[in-house]
Amino acid sequence: MTVEHADRGPLDRDELARLVAGDIPRKSFVNLGIGQPTAVADHFGPDSDVVLHTENGMLGMGPMAHGDDVDPDLVNAGKIPVTELPGAAYFDHALSFAMMRGGHLDVCVLGAFQVAADGTLANWHTGAPDAIPAVGGAMDLAVGAKDVFVMMSLFDRNGTPKLVPECAYPVTGLRCVSRVYTDRAVFHLTGDGVRVTETFGTTLAELRARLDVPLL
């Protein structure tokens, strides 16, 4: 069942972040990827009890630090100074990645270059011959989080869809993404195929016409 919001424009970044935050269950342990997903943190309600994990060794990460609160020993995965919430814990990289790889995080939210209909993710490498590859913790999150949500624009600048039958970019992980949140629609990648739950400024019929991916 698709809810179509055709009488409005696509979501802006803030609306998209709020949408993702609203879909994350209370009390979840969550890792937010660097870039756009970081903004999701601003939209958890005061009673969400969501606990943020940062792969450089912390649970209970608070908002970004400013002014006198900046501490060079307290940064997030993007090396941005952050703060500590009550109940936080610090640990080393072995335990931090054990959390990620051992299936202990409820949700991670990642950006992407492309997502394939089967959930295969490409978000670490453009494949350009002169690009310097840099993967960080993306492959660990992709295989390890219970749910991998992707946040991205549905089309690139040229209007080419980023939800694709098969990734053209080097992949980060196979069949790992469960949901794709975009400015135009929300996609649930199920074992049976791709289900569109909501559209924004477009319709399911229009999406069917523009995407090479069969939509349930």
Binding site: G87, A89, A94, M100, G144
Partner: protein
């Protein structure tokens, strides 16, 4: 956020027949006696238990074994001066025993929690305990392939919990607790006290709350 259970029976509710149960402790130190008693009262059967030992005396793990509801035990050192409950069951063919080197036991539990599919270790190479296992020479040395021990439940004893589920332990009572907490779908900790969120120094947390599902205070 962790659930603070009102009593030990509530803390172990829902443990099904056929479960694999990690039980912390090295001898008496860190053994979650109250949770084991509750598991025994709960009546679940056909259990696989993982512990360093196989019970001693007539309480705790030994009392659980005495019910006959443990089908199989995985441990490193079942033979102690007062492990007569286990010994009787074993000699009567009423319990299966898998003996593992203590370091392999620990590393296999850790591997389950850390998402490792299998690992090669030199421990046990060339011995009876490697019989039937895959081996490979790495760096000129024979290694044995060992697989993780995933569990349904972990019952552990810690010292203090906060309401976020963070745990600290006490002295050598720590032993298997931190790794067992990571390797089960349901981790239950009995503790001496629960403090408010913020009551444990974030630098001193040993088991972060993400690994803990239920906490219960016992004397």
């Amino acid at each position: 956020m962790v659930e603070i259970a009102p009593d030990t029976d509530a803390a172990v509710r829902g443990i099904a027949d056929g479960s694999t149960v990690l039980i912390g402790g090295f001898g008496a130190a860190g053994q979650p006696y109250a949770l084991i008693d509750a598991l025994r009262r709960g009546g679940a059967g056909d259990l696989t238990v993982v512990n360093n030992n196989a019970g001693n005396g007539t309480t705790g793990l030994a009392a659980l074994l005495a019910t006959g509801r443990v089908r199989r035990i995985i441990c490193s050192f079942p033979r102690q001066v007062d492990s007569f409950v286990f010994e009787e069951l074993y000699r009567a063919g009423r319990i299966e025993l898998e003996v593992a080197p203590q370091g392999n036991l620990a590393e296999r539990i850790r591997a389950a929690g850390a998402g490792i599919g299998a690992f090669y270790t030199p421990t046990g190479a060339g011995t009876m305990l490697a019989e039937g296992k895959e081996t490979r020479v790495i760096g000129g040395r024979e290694h044995v392939l060992e697989y993780p021990i995933h569990a349904d439940v972990a019952l552990i004893r810690a010292h203090t919990a906060d309401h976020a589920g963070n745990l600290v332990y006490r002295k050598t009572g720590r032993n298997f607790g931190p790794i067992m907490a990571t390797a089960a779908r349901l981790t239950v900790a009995e503790v001496t006290r629960v403090v408010p969120v913020g009551g444990i120094d974030p630098e001193a947390v040993v088991t972060p709350g993400i690994f803990v599902d239920r906490v219960v205070v016992t004397p």
